[in-house]
């Protein structure tokens, strides 16, 4: 599946919910189902500090594919982290760099990515792209 196909899939999943409460309950479930994050990577190097919640993001790069694992101390943030990992993990650097992310807005969670919220999510998205850019230039120079 392409990044856009996954985004469309997420939009469809959220379309079945009637109100915000159901959407957030689903996010909470997603947050709970996020695979455990390796405690050894909970270091300042992988920490994305928001004022309201914290996010940790750990990348690995193998056979041209980037895998992300991530974590947050707040459950709703973690639910959105799970969605971002679903969209971005297991992709080539080029796919990530070229991606146009529209699903967050479509599922009514845009406020969660506003810079004033300072929950670490916007910075997490930027950081994912930065890792992708770094791996991309590494590929091109090897």
């Amino acid at each position: 599946m392409t990044i856009n196909e996954i985004q469309d899939q997420i939009i469809e999943e959220f379309a079945q919910f009637g109100d915000w409460m159901e959407r957030y309950e689903y996010l909470i479930d997603l947050g709970r189902s996020l695979p455990p994050f390796d405690e050894r990577h909970k270091t300042p190097e992988y920490l994305i500090e928001g004022c309201q919640s914290k996010v940790w993001l750990f990348p690995s790069f193998e056979n041209g594919i980037i895998t992300f694992s991530a974590e947050s101390d707040a459950l709703i943030t973690r639910g959105i982290v799970a969605l971002l990992v679903r969209v971005f993990s297991g992709r080539t650097p080029a796919e990530i760099v070229d991606a146009n992310i529209y699903f967050i807005e479509k599922i009514g969670l845009r406020e969660n990515l506003s810079p004033t919220r300072s929950n670490g999510l916007l910075a997490m998205m930027k950081q994912m792209r930065l890792y992708a850019l770094a791996y991309k230039s590494k590929q091109e120079h090897s």
Partner: protein, 408 residues
């Protein structure tokens, strides 16, 4: 004590209270961050711009006289509100933060040197920490911290022991913005004065909840912000005893604060103008006076009483929620209640409450050392004003219950 108006009348004075948030009636419980403004303030500001705008103290013309008189009348309103001895002791600033920075600079220049000590408490807002740290860095002085108990009560014994020959000033908050504790500032001042040490009181969370009498407290400085006492943004007050203010150098230079300027030497104007360089926020000052008048008309003791009743409802309701922990259980508190429901993250709870139309604050509330003291990364704060209702408090309690169910 009875409020001079019914709650319905009061609420209709605050048009913003009928806002809908995410389609639900707004329940505004973030009054510690900023308070809403009554029509009496809003209309006053508008009327000023329509009818009385000119620079203050700088013209001989009709409008300038008009607005200068009103500016000075506003100063008198503030003086009377906090019971200062004279108008010259009331300096208008941009807010609490600006006032503390002014004192930290001017007082520091005059009285603080290497090896000297500044005493603050462990429950201060960053605004009453950082300016003193900056001073300490400039002068190689040391910051000493008064500890407090789990309930949120300052340790006065420890405070007494902290005072030394090297202590130059004590700066403590009247009321903790997180714990709600009303500190025994009168005793704190008296103790410092026994050693000849002046005291600054951060009144940002004190001024709006009842009576503040700086003559009775005998504090040397008292500072607060207009926006937290139902007045406009960008205006604040620095009260200082005249004798002390006269000894301090000005912290900003410019127009209006000078008596005579030549390129060789400038002499400074008298109080309060010495500390009001440049065109001041005179509209803000007049708006602030309107806010103080509003509170006085309602009855300040009645306001405090109503807030205490709402606090009692909130405390009882929230305490009944299993696993919920309240931060700040001092015997003397204002209507501020900080809490965490079980292990639920404050941001998660805040997001869900927001969706219900309930505005609370989440995070560290600009008091990181306090959070560290409790070993938490932040909490949720409901700060209640007299215009809140019992029904709103009940909605908060129901909302928090719902949150605990969602995250159970």
């Amino acid at each position: 004590m009875k409020l001079a108006k019914s709650i319905e009348e009061i609420r209709s004075d605050f048009p913003i209270l009928s806002t809908k948030a995410h389609g639900k009636p707004l329940i505004y419980l973030d009054n510690g961050a900023t308070t809403q403004k009554p029509l009496q303030v809003i209309n006053m500001m508008e009327e000023l711009y329509r009818t009385a705008n000119a620079n203050v103290h700088r013209g001989v013309h009709y409008l300038s006289d008009l607005v200068s008189d009103r500016y000075e009348a506003a100063r008198e309103t503030v003086r009377a509100f906090i019971n200062a001895r004279s108008r010259e002791e009331i300096i208008f600033t941009a807010g609490t933060t600006a006032s503390i920075n002014a004192v930290a600079f001017s007082f520091g220049e005059r009285f603080v040197g290497e090896g000297d000590e500044i005493v603050i408490s462990g429950m201060e807002h960053h605004a009453n920490i950082v300016p003193w740290q900056m001073l300490c860095e400039r002068k190689k002085a040391k910051l000493k911290i008064i500890p407090f108990s789990d309930e949120g009560v300052l340790d006065l014994e420890a405070y007494r022991n902290l005072l030394s020959e090297r202590t130059r000033i004590v700066a403590v908050t009247h009321v903790s913005n997180v714990l709600g504790t009303i500190n025994p500032v009168k005793e704190i001042v008296a103790e410092a004065h026994r050693h000849g040490i002046p005291v600054l009181i951060d009144g940002a969370q004190g001024i709006q909840h009842g009576l503040v009498d700086v003559t009775d407290l005998d504090c040397d400085f008292y500072v607060f912000s207009g926006h937290k006492v139902y007045g406009p943004n960008g205006i604040g007050v620095l009260y200082g005893k005249a004798d002390l203010l006269n000894e301090l150098p000005p912290y900003q230079g410019g127009g209006d604060m000078v008596a005579n300027v030549t390129f060789e030497k400038t002499t400074y104007s008298v109080l309060p103008f010495k500390f009001e360089a440049g065109t001041t926020n005179f509209t803000g000052a007049i708006g602030l006076a309107a806010a103080l008048d509003y509170l006085s008309t309602l009855g300040r003791e009645a306001v405090a009483e109503r807030e205490q009743a709402l606090l009692a409802t909130a405390t009882a309701g929230l305490s009944a929620i299993e696993g919920l922990r309240i931060y700040g259980t001092a015997p003397h508190k204002v209507s501020v209640i900080s809490f965490l429901p079980g292990v639920i993250h404050q941001y998660d709870a805040g997001m869900i409450l927001d969706k219900m139309g309930i505005a609370v604050r989440t995070g560290t509330h600009c008091a990181q050392p306090l959070m560290e003291r409790f070993g938490i990364s932040g909490n949720i704060r409901a700060s209640i004003a007299f215009y809140n209702t019992e029904a709103e408090i009940e909605a908060l309690v129901r909302g928090v219950r719902k949150v605990t169910e969602m995250f159970a």
